[in-house]
Symmetry: C2
Subunit: 496 residues, 2 copies
């Protein structure tokens, strides 16, 4: 296949995509299994929807309203209909529920994990394909459905090994904010203005009170000089909203009184306070106090479609960012109540609430806590002394596998030196050699690679290293499995 040089494709990935290796995949597998176990113990069952949906079925709910057509990957099908890759797992769920409404058992409780795709500008640590893990309850308006998700989210964080204090689940209610907006004279029907307000508040951690204040008013110029148009609220209105988002009350009780004042006579505000109260009551009866789930008016979530409770799991410990500065890790999961998503299809309101974990983000957080390492079982590499007679090595490997060990015979073309190097680079625990002489004597040689590496550190010269025979051992062929298991056991002790 000798094509001229100019026609060769380049071996590279599209921008914003990446390959992932064994360590990361195995750690993710372990993490997903833990989340799955918690969700299943709560009675949630898996559902899988395909990568594609019709574009109109997905709707436009991405927070990045500035690029409304660019947030998703879309293409035209043969029949000229637009399809898009899912950008989250909630929109496909709404489609699934609407399509199967009559036959589904309600409340419908499902979890789903899988890739989602965002057609956004890639950046450091910001990919265009990533994994989410969602759980949702559809068909219940009850506060207990929200409360249950909050407990489950908290349980999940702890099942993954995070300690209380290392994470916090923050809870708020969109209806409270709507109440404040209504009380300050912003029409709730003005969805666009409401959206600008939401996204402004969502940036409070990054921009502070002053930045958000500007975005609630005329707008804000950032460091690069770019101007972002604001919501156009009056200073009074902006002040009222900021008093809600960043309260100055001394305690929880004073805070709730303050909110009562801010929502005034707004009916939606009162409903929000009532929902919040019910959720908190259930949580505290079950032992999920403010050390696990905390009421925080600063959490609004960027997505437009939430209608009631909104929540977010944050990690509170410091990590280093790209500029080597210490920052708080921040949000790893979020969710809330979205009572109108199914109605997009059916016209009929179906109450729903859900939570979504950002798997990759949470995994890198766990890694920084030393909580994500997957345990690989040790690998045995059996070298092939005489390529014309590889069968003996393969039979040896079969025997090891039958004993429950992870083992491979060398299938490459290298000489013995290359084979040892291979075993080493693969991180093998033991290399097995069975030369012709040894076979005649009924023996094999075991090379303890972990020990060899250790010993090599303390010897000065290669000659000395070669002379150092403690890292290898001749054993009877018939004792192969027993000897290998003993060697692995000794290694494991050394590690511990």
């Amino acid at each position: 296949m000798s094509s001229p040089k100019q026609s060769k494709p380049k071996a590279r990935l599209p921008r914003g995509f990446r390959d992932r290796g064994a360590g990361e995949i195995m750690a993710e597998q372990k993490m997903l299994a833990t989340i799955r176990a918690v969700y299943e113990s709560y009675g949630f069952e898996p559902l899988e929807t395909p990568a594609f949906e019709y574009t109109d079925a997905l709707g436009k709910f991405l927070p990045d309203v500035d690029r409304p057509n660019e947030g998703v990957f879309s293409l035209k099908d043969d029949d000229q209909q637009w399809m898009s890759l899912r950008y989250d797992l909630t929109a496909p769920l709404a489609r699934h529920v609407a399509a199967n409404f009559q036959t589904l058992t309600k409340p419908f409780r499902r979890y789903q994990t899988g890739s989602v795709w965002r057609n956004e500008k890639p950046g450091p640590g910001r990919y265009r394909e990533f994994t989410q893990f969602d759980a949702d309850t559809v068909g219940s308006a009850s506060a207990s459905a929200d409360a249950e998700l909050l407990m489950m989210l908290s349980d999940t964080m702890e099942a993954l090994g995070l300690k209380r204090g290392d994470y916090i689940v923050k809870l708020n209610n969109r209806k409270l904010l709507d109440g404040v907006l209504e009380a300050s004279g912003v029409a709730l029907e003005d969805r666009i203005k409401r959206g600008v307000v939401l996204r402004a508040i969502d940036k409070i951690d990054r921009l502070g009170v002053e930045g958000v204040s500007a975005l609630l008013g005329e707008g804000r110029k950032d460091e690069s000089g770019d101007f972002t148009k604001g919501a156009g609220l009056s200073p009074d209105q902006a002040h009222r909203i900021l008093a809600f988002v960043a309260p100055d009350a001394e305690d929880e009780e004073a805070h709730l009184r303050q909110i009562g004042t801010l929502v005034g006579s707004s009916a939606v505000g009162a409903a929000g306070l009532n929902e919040l109260e019910q959720i908190v009551k259930l949580l505290s009866a079950c032992g999920y106090g403010p050390d696990r789930v905390l009421f925080d008016t600063g959490v609004v979530r960027g997505l437009d479609y939430y209608t009631g409770a909104v929540f977010e799991a944050q990690l509170t410990f410091p990590v280093k960012n790209e500029d080597d500065e210490e920052v708080v890790f921040g949000s790893v999961a979020g969710g809330g109540r979205y009572d109108d998503l199914v109605a997009r299809f059916t016209g009929q309101q179906v109450p729903a609430t859900g939570v979504s974990i950002g798997v990759s983000r949470l995994m890198s957080a766990l890694a920084s806590r030393g909580l994500s390492a997957a345990v690989k079982s040790p690998l045995i590499v059996v070298t092939v002394f005489d390529k014309a007679d590889a069968a003996a090595s393969f039979m040896l490997v079969q025997e090891l596998r039958a004993a429950g060990l992870r083992a491979e015979a060398y299938v490459g073309n290298g000489k013995m030196g290359d084979q040892f190097k291979y075993a080493d680079r693969r991180g093998a625990a033991i290399a097995v050699v069975e030369g012709g002489d040894e076979r005649a004597r009924g023996e094999v040689t075991l090379k303890d690679l972990a020990l060899g590496t250790e010993l090599a550190k303390s010897v000065e010269t290669r000659a000395e290293w070669v002379a150092n025979r403690e890292a290898q051992k001749s054993v009877k062929r018939t004792d192969l499995v027993t000897e290998i298991k003993a060697m692995l056991k000794a290694n494991a002790k050394g590690d511990a």
Copy 2:
């Protein structure tokens, strides 16, 4: 959210895509875990590549050459470069190896599982998104690398519960066919003609010798009257190829002699025979005789890129097709050696061999053998008697989960009757009721739903059914976990 009726999106999936429910997902999870365990025991480690690749990096290797631009889903990135969703896991592997060639440990042994997408006409049981499970060894030309994959494929079939005789792995070598082509005067450089020949042979199970003979010659008219252009071989050439594909030799030895005659003095044919011999020798030494891996010249595989060994796992037991006819299930996995794929990028040949399992096909095969059922642990539904005081039910559920049980409190808005109906439809094993009076007495009621369903069948009237108290039982609140475990144990015995 009251949008006018005409603007509502329809709740439906794009053609050729589907949702999958809990039963199928859990069965697939179990199957993937089994395959993963076998592959890892052989020393293969996971790799993950993204859904998208640059279109030119994927290449055009789909067998459906009649629709060269329609086999894949493609779209233009912001920078006007074409990207496509992967249609298999081999092309992305070749790209990964070419991009990371210097740093990879060779032979590079990886497995990957994930969705692939084909932009093809959907049909019954034929979807545009499906799961593959691949394992490949890159960087070894050794026959032992091929032999190992064949053993691993056979082991996998047996690990999934298939009996010897229910499956067979068939082995052939492209070089033998190339030798026959060369000996019959077809230029091997004529890749297009070679491709037409390959795909004609690949259809022998469906079209028989006569149909393939027509496709090797001028062409073939099918039942619908459509004419497929043939490879244009002479009757003599076609005869020679058919003698290879559908041999009439009495035994293996006579067959090999016949092949020797058919490839004549072709060097590539001789190389093919030599490779075949080495693989079979290794297989038979390790106990993989013709009852597990069988040499069969009828297997050629449709993909263009194979260069040596090709193989296919077939299930030999009969199943009913859509027309209720008994047919042999057929191929569930395939693979082979492809020494030129990495060279597309680098210009340098990198020998490689791999196997791919069609996960969905294999799963439906296992289901027809009763081998795919995932075991769900039994679900306990705790009803909520008084919605204003749901906390008691939630605390009860917490206690059950802490004891390792799968349990949920009812989060919907239904009355008690609805709640029992819900528990029933969810397939719950037990419903738990704690009314106000019971709580005062320190008791709860357990409803054995499996037993209740059974008993309900034998009673005539609802009154009688209500009077029938054997399916439910009052127990002390403090004995809750013990009593539930005993009830589940009794149920499990009843099932067995």
